[in-house]
């Protein structure tokens, strides 16, 4: 009896610890809202989200419209996805289906090392090496711009997309592929018509997670995107995505002033977007889980 009571207590203690993650998530939300919602006492939700002027430090006439920041985040993420999705999925296909075990043992750590590079180092690389290169090579005025940031971000989301996609490709039942080979299909035909369609929901999850990582990445866009809070009109425009704005301005914003609250409200928007992406990814991976050949 005493032994079983002890067991129950231990189990409950573990449950309580496991809830920490949820509690932290809830606390993050509470603090963002607590410090962010006061924004809407001096600017309407509509003006905040769709206002095109972001002059939070203007003494006479401050403006708190974050549309340029939202558009910048969207543009940088979309452009980086154009590069990262094909590269990530192709890397995953190669690792899961084609590489010999020996080659795999070399390539997989390379992908993992790329994932582990600190974002500030990638940002630094973009600043001191990529930016002057782009200026010289393309003859543009500023090297710190949308395209440079997107390129750096792409290298950060490739490992995420590759590793999650690889798991999905691995999970495709072996008998599906064997059936395809038995019908005389080549390896490529099997990949394109059987393996990839069966792994599609997992690859979708990978893509969403990769984009979510890109949209929330801070240091790279802070150092490389150029920092101009205007709606970009070309691929070489300097931009100021949401995380960059928060990180750059928080230190200077007077505590609990309008600017401070507006930055927390921006973080609220950013948090909601990444939360949406992550819930979407979770939904995809559960809803369309490939449990065997029977569900095809």
């Amino acid at each position: 009896m005493r032994r079983s009571t002890k067991e129950i207590i231990i189990k409950q203690a573990f449950l309580a610890t496991a809830i920490t993650s949820l509690a932290v998530l809830a606390l993050i939300m509470i603090f963002l809202f607590m410090e962010g919602l006061p924004t809407f006492s001096f600017v309407s939700v509509k003006d905040f989200l769709f206002g095109v002027d972001w002059y939070p430090t203007d003494e006479a006439n401050p403006a708190y419209g974050i549309l340029p920041l939202i558009v910048a985040s969207g543009a940088v993420t979309a452009l980086s996805s154009l590069l990262a999705i094909p590269l990530g999925v192709m890397t995953a296909v190669y690792l899961a289906e084609i590489a010999s075990p020996r080659l795999r043992a070399v390539v997989k750590p390379v992908v993992e090392m790329l994932a582990s590079l600190p974002s500030v180092v990638i940002g630094f690389f973009g600043m001191v090496i990529m930016a002057p290169f782009l200026q010289d090579y393309f003859g543009i005025a500023v090297g710190l711009n949308l395209s440079n940031a997107a390129l750096m971000l792409a290298f950060m989301s490739v490992p995420t997309i590759a590793s999650v996609s690889e798991d999905a490709i691995y999970a495709v039942p072996r008998d599906l592929k064997e059936a395809s080979f038995a019908l005389g299909a080549t390896h490529l035909e099997t990949l394109a018509r059987v393996t990839l369609p069966a792994a599609l929901s997992g690859i979708g999850t990978a893509v969403i997670l990769g984009m979510s990582r890109a949209i929330g990445e801070t240091m790279v866009v802070l150092m490389v995107a150029g920092g101009a809070a205007v709606i970009p009109n070309s691929l070489w425009s300097p931009v100021r995505p949401m995380p960059a704005s928060i990180a750059a301005e928080m230190a200077e914003a007077p505590f609990r002033g309008h600017h401070y609250h507006a930055l927390f409200a921006t973080a609220m928007v950013l948090f909601m977007v990444t939360l949406l992406f992550n819930i979407l990814a979770d939904y995809f991976s559960h809803k369309h889980q490939q449990s065997g050949s029977a569900s095809l």
Binding site: K6, L15, A18, V121, E189, A247
Partner: protein, 307 residues
């Protein structure tokens, strides 16, 4: 069939039995081209890593000296070394792990050993996955709001530990669960058959066999915390402090923040370029070194496991 054979991907027969026709040749060529493109993708990824590391090593190696590593910054940070940043980064990342490891391992034990598939587990998992996706700057604001302001810890090592600790939590949970998964069910069954309770089984059988895997995970967690910038810029790090940290309420200098500040702020950006390169090189040596160690440890464990 051995486990190896089941896990390996089936490859098509090398030679077709039928007579090769022109159409087959087209299909073979197509496949060759497609696989070449895949190889190209791998090369791009590998080249990106090589180029980034290569440039940092070439430009940074000349800055590295014994003095650079062990001296304090001088003359408005335009000369001298980065010793306080190295100390700060080590302190922050090790402390963050002290916060994240117990919580993360216990969470993983609950998820893998106790929880039955159902709503509770689904919600907790969703929480962990979403925590993993929270942008680091949002963690920074959260730390500023809760630890620095509400709990009145100020910009301090302790606030940094707590912020980085919750940031690393999903990494630890994920790697620990993987380690627990790799412990064969027969170990648990044997312990239970001998009359061990669930807790005795976990404590004496499951955890000892999962320990190396958990160790790997915590190394990855430390390296993640060491490279983190946005989460510490409002909670723990300052761009210059003349004194070394002497309590958990001190603020500290840190390698990633040092790089950011020197590269973006101030009037001496060009002059301090060698220091920036040197600091970046020290940081990636630290982070990649830990990662490489974890990767090798894991490969060794897997070999031991299959033998």
């Amino acid at each position: 069939m051995t486990a190896e054979a089941i896990l390996s991907v089936p490859t098509p027969p090398r030679q077709s039995l039928s007579v090769t026709t022109g159409r087959d040749r087209v299909r073979k060529t197509k496949q060759w081209l497609a696989f070449m493109m895949l190889r190209g993708a791998i090369l791009i990824v590998a080249a990106a890593l090589a180029v980034i590391i290569g440039f940092l090593v070439i430009n940074g190696i000349s800055s590295i000296s014994w003095g650079f590593l062990t001296e304090v910054p001088r003359n408005n940070m335009t000369e001298g070394g980065i010793w306080p940043c190295i100390v700060g980064t080590l302190l922050l990342s090790l402390g963050a792990m002290a916060v994240a490891l117990p919580l993360g391992v216990a969470s993983a034990i609950y998820l893998h050993e106790y929880a039955l598939p159902g709503r509770t587990m689904r919600i907790i998992r969703l929480g962990v996955n979403n925590l993993a996706g929270v942008p680091s700057v949002v963690f920074g604001l959260f730390g500023l709001g809760l630890f620095v302001t509400a709990m009145n810890l100020g910009v301090s090592i302790l606030a940094g530990w707590l912020t980085l600790g919750v940031l690393c939590l999903p990494v630890i949970i994920g790697t620990t669960e993987e380690a627990l998964r790799s412990v064969p069910a027969t170990y648990r069954e044997a312990s239970l058959a001998l009359g061990g309770t669930k807790w005795q089984t976990i404590w004496r059988v499951v955890l000892p066999s999962a320990l190396p895997g958990i160790l790997t995970g915590s190394i990855l967690g430390i390296s993640r915390a060491a490279g983190e910038t946005a989460a510490i810029m409002f909670t723990a790090a300052v761009f210059y402090t003349p004194k070394m940290p002497n309590s958990i309420f001190s603020d500290v200098m840190a390698l990633p923040y040092h790089i950011y500040v020197l590269a973006t702020a101030g009037t001496e950006i060009e002059k301090t370029r060698p220091i920036q390169y040197g600091t970046a090189l020290v940081l990636i040596a630290l982070v990649l070194g830990m990662n490489l160690f974890a990767i090798i440890l894991r490969a060794w464990l897997q070999r031991r496991g299959t033998r």
